[in-house]
């Protein structure tokens, strides 16, 4: 606590008054300064790396990586923070080109991606996919309903009728699928094993995607530091946990700088904190001003995905629908976990509840009033409420 307090004092110096929130850069600088002020050093460290990366200044990035490495061993945080201030000030004066503001640009634009397997046991009905730079689409649904099929189809792994014209960043020649796989980062649910040192794998990927020499070193150091993987870099695949394997795989894809990132169940092997961190990182990385990416990801962690996704696509039995398409005016849907019976709930809510469904230990209630009214009715009847959530705009209500 003492340490945080001490830092807070210093942060007063870190945020000069002349910082005005007038641009995305300044907004990010403000955020970073705030995190530093409140002791969220790790988050601030990651975001400062992102910020400097977006400036495209190699020397600055090198300096920031060194600064980031110092954090782990820093005995004198005052110096470390002072250094952060210098970097922030430098970035403040830098005019960045914001590539995310091209709202009319679509990376993927398809009215109907569909797939029927050779044996005909499953068919994915046409699903419209429109993905912009910086946008995240979360794909949710029960197992075996077509999430992975959709992602693999877009990644060019399944024969699904996708065409070069569906991808604004690709040429339409005979090497379309090679270009698609070169330019689209895809992480399957089961990540193939890496051989040799993890660092060598990253250097290799960077080099095969055009980052040579010093630039290769710089970018590998950047992704290692950005994802907190530096201390594992010299280990081998079998020496790290499956959660870290996912992070290394994402780091490897970032080195490829793909316009589109596709992740199949990336949260599956991660603990709760790591899930939050990864989703947050995906949000940040997707909205990079220098290399914005469109992100498609599947997950069973519905609420976590909804927090970062711009849109959520729900797929059921091969049919997809987006979460923003069918909200009925005036009606709300709530999830309630309670020890009360269905009859007690019906009695408490009266005519406000149009439908009560018991689903996996949780009641799902469609009601005419908003959440405040619903909670009020339950509390008045002294019914115990252990968990309450408004899922009116969540894909959860489709399950």
């Amino acid at each position: 606590m003492q340490r945080v307090d001490r830092i807070n004092l210093k942060i007063g110096v870190l945020i000069p008054e002349r910082f005005e929130i007038s641009s995305m850069v300044q907004q990010r600088i403000q955020e970073i300064s705030s995190w530093l002020k409140h002791g969220d050093y790790d988050l601030a460290r990651r975001r400062l790396l992102d910020l400097v990366y977006d400036t495209d200044q190699k020397e600055w990035l090198m300096e920031t990586i060194l600064w980031s490495k110092e954090f782990q061993e820093a005995k004198n945080l005052d110096n470390w923070l002072q250094h952060a201030k210098e970097i922030l000030e430098r970035c403040n004066g830098f005019q960045q080109h914001d590539n995310t503001k091209k709202s009319d640009v679509f990376l993927i634009q398809s009215e109907g991606i569909s797939k029927t397997y050779f044996n005909g046991f499953f068919s994915l009905k046409p699903i419209a996919v429109h993905l912009q730079p910086g946008e995240i689409i979360g794909v949710v649904g029960e197992n075996g309903n077509g999430k992975t099929t959709l992602l693999r189809s877009i990644a060019g792994q399944l024969e699904s009728g996708i065409k070069p014209s569906n991808f604004s960043y690709l040429k339409g020649d005979e090497f379309f699928f090679y270009d698609l796989k070169y330019s689209t980062g895809f992480i399957p649910q089961r990540i193939p094993r890496w051989y040799g040192k993890l660092r060598d794998n990253l250097h290799f990927t960077a080099a095969t995607h055009g980052l040579k020499g010093a630039q290769n070193d710089l970018m590998v150091d950047f992704v290692l530091e950005r994802f907190g993987l530096s201390k594992f870099a010299n280990l081998k695949w079998t020496q790290i946990s499956s959660g870290y394997r996912t992070r290394f795989e994402i780091a490897r894809l970032i080195l490829q700088r793909p316009p589109v990132l596709i992740l199949d169940e990336p949260l599956a092997n991660l603990d709760i904190i790591a899930q939050q961190t990864l989703l947050q990182d995906l949000r940040f990385i997707a909205r990079s001003t220098r290399h914005p990416m469109g992100v498609l990801l599947t997950s069973q962690q519905l609420f976590e995905v909804e927090k970062v996704a711009d849109r959520v696509l729900f797929i059921q039995k091969g049919i997809g629908k987006y979460n923003d398409t069918s909200v009925t005016e005036g009606f709300h849907v709530f999830e309630i976990e309670t020890t009360a019976s269905r009859e007690q709930l019906e009695s408490a809510l009266g005519e406000n509840a149009t439908r009560i469904r018991y689903n996996g230990g949780i009641f799902e209630i469609e009601a005419a009033g908003d959440e405040q009214k619903c909670l009020e009715l339950l509390v008045n009847q002294k019914l115990p409420v252990h968990y309450f959530r408004n899922i009116t705009h969540s894909a959860k209500r489709y399950f």
Binding site: F118, L158, K181, Y182, Y195, F204, T208, K212
Partner: protein, 471 residues
């Protein structure tokens, strides 16, 4: 320690600048292979020629083969761990040719290691005895032995009619050419010496050619094993030269033959019976035994192997090339399709045979036509399946077969042409030098042609095939 740092720096430099070369791991293989080859070569070179023969050397060579195979497996394991092609990385314009060349070089290195014994021995021979000198004397020896056999078996296998040629070979001290074959016709008592210096390809036609009793330069072995001392050796060589003069009318210098012996040209695997018979009986007995065992002796007679560099090279280069092609396929294919291709490959001759039967073809020309037809059919199969994910395996297998067969299509046509050329011409009247030149030309031409095809045709087809959706 500094050396290891040096190798590490090379490794990291290649990793960051030339990932395609780094992935081939040639920089790990190259130093070890060169060290082993150099060490083995020096070891063999330093050995006495007497030790070139015998079980120990065979065991030594077997171990070299074993280590080469282990080295190959290890190398492949390391090489297959990283593959920019399968990672859908950037593909430089000449990457396929570069990979092919480097892989080929690595395989040749590994294949050379066990052969270093022969290479070192040949170098040693060349160091001590000049080729012209050797040629002259070997010609003499072979004629003597052939004549001797002719007298012994009372057959008319060795024909000669051209006295001038005989004189050219035997009596002209400046002659440095090798005879391709020697015949002596007892009835005519005339020499036929065919000067075919084309290929340094030496053969003695001994016995009945129809029954394949032919000695070739490959049978380079032992006449006089067990001759340990100079005195003993020279005595027997003296006897041999006397016998040679009596039988064949040709003078051989025992000192020269002794030099052959000690320099490793006759790495003697003993025929101890001769020595014993010489010690225990008279010279006439020895000559008698010499004649009676001539068959056996000739089987092991040494003809200078150093004249056959090109054959040693072929022995190394062709298998290396085809292993390289297999690796190229593996790097561009899924494991499943590659393994099926390997399994189906050997069935291809059967397919050709059955196709021949179906068309009712006869003779060599018909066979060649069927092979050509099969080649075209495989191309058609590839093109009809190339856009289908469902039949991706079939198009992949067809592509692999095409890559494997295309480099030898030239030789196939050459064989076809050669069959027609040879038809109706007696063997001894055929122009072997010309035929060899044609064959060599075809071999030399088809390599660049294949490389061009690889770059312009097969590489794009492999890129397209591997990146296609699989399901």
């Amino acid at each position: 320690m500094r050396k290891f740092k040096f190798f590490h720096r090379i490794d990291q430099f290649l990793l960051r600048h030339y990932p395609g070369i780094w992935a081939l791991q040639i920089h790990r293989l190259l130093p070890w292979a060169l060290i082993i080859i150099a060490f083995t070569g020096l070891l063999v070179y330093a050995q006495s020629p007497q030790s070139y023969s015998g079980n120990q050397m065979e065991i030594f060579i077997s171990w070299l083969y074993f280590f080469a195979v282990v080295g190959l497996v290890l190398w492949l394991v390391y090489m297959f761990r990283f593959n920019p092609i399968k990672n859908f990385g950037k593909r430089p314009p000449m990457d396929e040719l570069q990979n092919l060349g480097i892989t080929f070089m690595g395989i040749v290195l590994l294949a050379t290691a066990p052969q270093i014994f022969f290479v070192a021995r040949n170098i040693r021979m060349h160091t001590f005895i000049s080729e012209p000198e050797l040629a002259q004397n070997l010609n003499k020896i072979n004629i003597v032995l052939s004549m001797n056999h002719s007298l012994e078996t009372d057959s008319a296998m060795i024909r000669a009619s051209d006295t001038n040629r005989r004189k050219y070979y035997l009596d002209d001290p400046t002659n440095t050419k090798y005879m391709d074959s020697v015949y002596f016709d007892k009835k005519d008592s005339i020499w036929h010496c065919y000067d075919l210096n084309h290929f340094k390809n030496y053969e003695i036609y001994y016995g009945d050619k129809e029954n394949n009793e032919v000695l070739t330069g490959k049978e380079i072995y032992y006449v006089l094993q067990g001759l340990k001392t100079r005195k003993d050796t020279l005595r027997i060589l003296q006897d041999f030269s006397v016998a040679a003069e009596r039988i064949g009318g040709v003078k051989l210098n025992p000192e020269t033959m002794y030099r052959y012996l000690i320099k490793g040209i006759f790495p003697a695997n003993s025929i101890p019976d001769y020595r014993l018979s010489l010690v225990e009986s008279t010279f006439d007995d020895y000559i008698r035994e010499f004649k009676s065992n001539l068959n056996y002796q000739l089987k092991y007679f040494t003809i200078y192997e150093g004249l056959r560099w090109n054959e040693i090279l072929r022995f190394i280069l062709y298998p290396s090339f085809f292993i390289t092609l297999l690796i190229l396929m593996f790097r561009n294919m899924t494991l499943k399709t590659f393994l099926i291709s390997i399994g189906i490959g050997p069935l291809l001759p059967l397919v050709v045979f059955l196709t021949g039967l179906a068309f009712g073809v006869h003779g060599e020309e018909g066979f060649f036509a069927v092979v050509l037809l099969t080649y075209i059919i495989i191309w058609l199969i590839y093109y009809s399946c190339r856009n289908s994910a469902r039949f991706a395996s079939i198009s992949g297998i067809a592509l692999n077969i095409l890559v494997f067969v295309t480099p030898v299509i030239g030789l196939f046509f050459e064989a076809w042409w050669e069959q027609n050329y040879r038809h109706g011409i007696p063997y001894e009247l055929q122009d072997h030098a010309f035929l060899d030149r044609v064959r060599l030309t075809v071999e030399l031409v088809e390599i660049p042609v294949f490389l061009i095809l690889l770059q312009l045709v097969f590489k794009p087809l492999y890129i397209r095939w591997y990146s296609m959706p699989r399901e």
